[in-house]
């Protein structure tokens, strides 16, 4: 009887020890996560506060993280007084138009690559070539594109950016959409054909509705990439009429006296679409950013 009792208490102790260990281990993960999260978001938060602080608060030392009187003067300054409103509109127009063009042209090409067997193993070769154009350092094509645009007098126009961004986004669209098309079973299109639909009709009525989520994700990626793009915009547009938001922000930085408030206000607005998209896209992001190599 005694012997049994000691045995059960020993296992009780071991039981509670392991429960404790499990608790610590699990929460240790959260303990690591939280700082990582803060570390990722704190600088962005800091910038937001700068955009809302008066100049006095901005230069205060020690810097107030949470307690300060907010003001919208910098936002007014940036978007009404100065030309940031125009930069914003330019960014939006360029992003949307180039994404639209890239989607149309790219989806068609992606469909052909996914469904048709081309001779000379062109399917594979074309795909690899398209992938490689994505790998070019931007500066390599930026310099000649500047000269080319200058030659056709398209410098400092929105059109030049739209054209370049379409070309910029195209490889990505083709790569992503090809994956989505390949995931779709051939059966469905064949059934549509046998049912009497034309190839185009099958594409519109059967294929497109089914790749719609993939299409939406690709579109959002392209919008983000176009919205964020800096180098080509910097090289191709230097006038207020044609500058995009990133170029406008950078312009303030290289100036004599840096207006931090204006700059952070503009930057804070610039990231709004990003934050929205990030929440929506987070499921597809890993797949998109790793060029489909890893399915998140």
């Amino acid at each position: 009887m005694n012997h049994k009792d000691t045995k059960s208490t020993k296992s009780d102790k071991q039981g509670s020890l392991s429960v404790l260990r499990v608790f610590v281990v699990n929460n240790f993960r959260y303990a690591l996560l939280l700082p990582a999260l803060l570390f990722a978001l704190a600088p962005v938060y800091w910038m937001l506060t700068i955009s809302l602080k008066t100049e006095v608060d901005q230069f205060a030392s020690p810097p107030p993280w949470f307690v300060f009187t907010p003001t919208l003067e910098h936002y007014y300054d940036a978007f009404v007084t100065r030309a940031f409103g125009q930069y914003l509109i330019t960014s939006a127009i360029v992003a949307v138009t180039s994404t639209g063009c890239a989607l149309i042209i790219g989806t068609m090409a992606a469909y052909a690559l996914a469904r048709f067997q081309l001779p000379w193993s062109l399917n594979r070769r074309l795909s690899l070539w398209i992938l490689s154009t994505r790998m070019f350092p931007a500066i390599v094509t930026a310099v000649p594109l500047f000269l080319m645009m200058r030659d056709v007098r398209l410098l400092n126009t929105r059109a030049s950016l739209i054209i370049v961004y379409t070309a910029f986004n195209l490889p990505f669209v083709i790569w992503m959409m090809r994956g989505f098309f390949a995931d779709l079973p051939r059966d469905l299109e064949e059934a549509a054909l046998v049912d009497g639909d034309s190839r185009l009709g099958a594409l519109v009525r059967v294929v497109l509705p089914l790749v719609a989520p993939g299409l939406a994700a690709t579109a959002m990626f392209c919008l983000i990439i176009s919205w964020n793009e800096f180098l080509f915009a910097l090289v191709l547009t230097q006038t207020d009429a044609a500058m995009t938001l990133p170029v406008g922000i950078a312009g303030r930085v290289t100036q004599y006296e840096i207006k931090w408030g204006v700059m952070s206000a503009a930057a804070s607005v610039a990231i709004v679409p990003i934050l929205v998209f990030a929440l929506v896209l987070q499921k597809y992001l890993v797949r998109g950013l790793s060029m489909g190599a890893v399915k998140g």
Binding site: P185, D187, L188, E190, A191, A192, L193, V194, D195, G196, D197, S198, R199, G201, R205, V206, P209, L210
Partner: protein
């Protein structure tokens, strides 16, 4: 509508997948293309549908040569192995799709969809999406989509293979009855010989791209053209024993057994020496007592099926299967005696597999 294949061949790169296939299918027939995987039956079906191009030869539907007619204009209906239901459409939209692409207007469309749904007892499912349906229900939707527009012929690519065994048997019967009702030419692809035997008016057995035999199920069962067909059709399959005819003693012999042949067989087989003899399990009677002329054998194992018993036997180095009544019992390794209905035996050339001797007169289809 009649369908005809004239010397149709299909090559993929260097490989020949269908080799000089000629087949004449009459209007209203239920023809089954039967064979193991890779024999070219699905490719043949797809060539008919227009989903694969024809390398050489001609395909006719009625009087029309359809080699160059695009799929959407061939007016055929197809039931895919995977059913290929459109996942983003409701069942009603799925069934109505062939009518929609023919620009048939809405009310007429709805009328026809409802009629077909009633025929297949799926009216309650019309507003659901494919992912909400069971396998059997999806299969019926695929069928409904095929029959809603009254095409020239139905093409079916192993439509029952994704169903569980019991449902498969049930659907088999319903399919046969449906086809009988509709009377439309049907071409059905399967590797399951039971489906072929029960559904077809005629069966085309294929192997490695070549047509082996095209005849009614009964003729294929009773008069297989070669060893492959004989082995493929019938379950459990036919027994094969290789050996020689000893004309002096009037027997068929190999190193462990000797079978007495009848006069008709001996006269037909003169000149042949190395042969394979084929006997169906139902033509072997297993006796527990020795009998005159019976062959000694030992029991390898028995399988009690409930309605009958399969007896696996060894005769020297030969392995045979026999069908016995349900109450037959025997111990493993016990000695038994076999009486063969030799007049029902088939003889095949050892090398080519072609049949040398037909046991019974063939009935004209």
């Amino acid at each position: 509508m009649s369908i005809e294949f004239q010397h149709v061949s299909k090559h993929f790169g260097g490989t020949c997948v269908v080799d000089d296939l000629s087949l004449e299918i009459r209007d209203g027939e239920f023809v089954v293309l039967l064979g193991p995987s890779g024999c070219g039956k699905t490719t043949t079906l797809r060539m008919l549908a227009g989903l694969e191009s024809v390398t050489s030869g001609d395909i006719f539907i009625g009087e029309e040569r359809i080699n160059d007619v695009p799929t959407q204009h061939r007016d055929l209906a197809m039931v895919f192995q995977s059913y290929a239901l459109y996942p983003h459409m409701t069942i009603a939209e799925n069934i109505g799709y062939p009518l929609r692409v023919r620009k048939i207007e809405k009310t007429e469309r709805a009328k026809r969809v409802n009629r077909v749904a009633a025929m297949l007892e799926i009216e309650s499912l019309l507003e659901r999406k494919p992912r909400q349906l069971s396998g059997g229900e999806r299969q019926r939707v695929a069928l409904a989509r095929a029959i809603v527009r009254e095409p020239r012929a139905y093409l079916m690519d192993e439509p029952l293979s994704n169903l569980d065994a019991r449902l498969r048997v049930q659907m088999r019967g319903e399919l046969k009855r449906l086809q009988h009702q509709l009377g439309t030419t049907t071409i059905y692809v399967t590797h399951d010989q039971a489906e072929a035997m029960t559904l077809a008016s005629r069966v085309a057995v294929m192997r490695k791209g070549r047509l082996q035999q095209f005849d009614t199920p009964m003729n294929i069962y009773n008069h297989p053209a070669n060893r492959f067909v004989a082995e493929f059709v019938g379950s459990p399959s036919m027994n094969f024993v290789e050996g020689k005819v000893d004309f002096d003693n009037g027997t068929f012999v190999n190193d462990s057994l000797s079978i007495l042949l009848n006069a008709s067989q001996l006269s037909e087989l003169t000149g042949q020496s190395d042969l394979t003899i084929g006997i169906r399990p139902e033509h072997i009677q297993v006796l527990t007592e020795p009998h005159d002329g019976a062959i000694a054998a030992s029991v390898y194992v028995t399988e009690l099926m409930g309605n009958e018993t399969f007896v696996f036997l060894s005769v020297g180095t030969n392995r045979l299967i026999a069908r016995a009544p349900a109450d037959f019992r025997a111990e493993v390794e016990s000695k038994v005696w076999l009486r063969l209905a030799i007049e029902k035996a088939h003889f095949f050339d050892l090398v080519s597999g072609d049949v040398c001797y037909f046991p019974v007169r063939r009935s004209v289809p």
